[in-house]
Symmetry: C2
Subunit: 219 residues, 2 copies
Amino acid sequence: LAKEAKVRQKRPPSVDLDTKSPLQDRSRSTFEAVLAATGELMRDVGFERLSTNMIAERAGLTPPALYRYFPNKYAVLKELAERLMQAQDDVVFEWIANGGMDGEPDERIAKTIWVYGRVVDVTRAQPGGVFVNRVMRVTPVLRQVRVDSRELVVRNVMERLRLRYPTVPEARLETAARLTTEAGTAAIEIAVEEPDLADDILAEAARMVVLYYEGLTAY
Amino acid sequence: LAKEAKVRQKRPPSVDLDTKSPLQDRSRSTFEAVLAATGELMRDVGFERLSTNMIAERAGLTPPALYRYFPNKYAVLKELAERLMQAQDDVVFEWIANGGMDGEPDERIAKTIWVYGRVVDVTRAQPGGVFVNRVMRVTPVLRQVRVDSRELVVRNVMERLRLRYPTVPEARLETAARLTTEAGTAAIEIAVEEPDLADDILAEAARMVVLYYEGLTAY
DNA sequence: TGTACATCAGTGAACGCGCGTTCACTGATGTAC
DNA sequence: TGTACATCAGTGAACGCGCGTTCACTGATGTAC
């Protein structure tokens, strides 16, 4: 699963965003310290006030040390975004592989609630996850990371849909996969942002999506 | 309708974001020129490179002239965001008032497709609408504008739901209203960003939402 | 209708600040023999 | 196991730039009589 998701990282970006892979232990912990500091700062001061100097300071480094690993601040954010997407996608792929999309409606609803909940959990666990999640909608570089992740999920969902609905045209299955993925994401975002509503909204969203698939052939 | 939506503008913001209302004709056209320039720049250079100096230049002004109307760049963006939300909300309120949520499922699906399409249209028509739509997720000030708009829509939707489902608990209706509003928004966002998919995704989204309400009492 | 004055709209020039980034360097770690 | 050397990790100090913002001002428009 993780291997498949890794593929998208290999695309050579038009602007330099490549991180330098750390070799020594000291180096690796510095790399992680930068990411952790960035996550914290996203929460504390927001994306717009975030700067490389600020990240370096919070990570206990001088600016040039940061530049040893990241060519600019977007490279840092990209790494955070990729990790978040990977963590989310892994949960989803596992859910599909374990038959989350199969079985009777009630069973599928329960499994869907479960997978939504786990995506919420991994997002909250990631440093600055909630905020990275937001910024990915705006910054072009991060948008791409998000789009790639969505594409991967949609392709995986479609594979399952083809088996389940062999008579439904491919194009429609793609629209369905896309729609339900985004609807799920929307519900997850509400849940991440507003913990009070989390359980209710995820339960209803799961019901909505499963119901939608139930009606797919009837219409 | 517009009057009701206006209410949220009156909230005194904690940080100074108040615009100065133009009096003379010349002044009003300058005000509009600033907004138009900002919309264009959002599209051309993106939110992150946007600056007050840049806006002023594009609008054919010197920076101090801009400061006569807007205390800072967030005030400009806030004005754009409020206009966009107002335009979107007005469409939705009109749809509800005209019975968009009433009638047989097939009829409701058709009306829902229509309202989604119109929201897409007003978003595309607004200067920089697509980009304002994105940034509203991130910048705190604009997030609030978005949240207020959502709240207003959810309240309006709920009013209708209460009549339709008098036996369903209030809390559940709120979750339902929230969920379908956000799901609709997600579909609209895809449609705005990817015109090729627009018709298909909006049709399926409308079906999903109407189907969901059909199952609300059965579950 | 014409003039004097008040108010409004916009300018030119400049400011301090923090940004991203780079330089030549020192200190820490790993490796070969 | 000890030493010499190569490589890696991080520093101190500074840079040019464009940012948001302000000042004292000039020119344009509206108004009273």
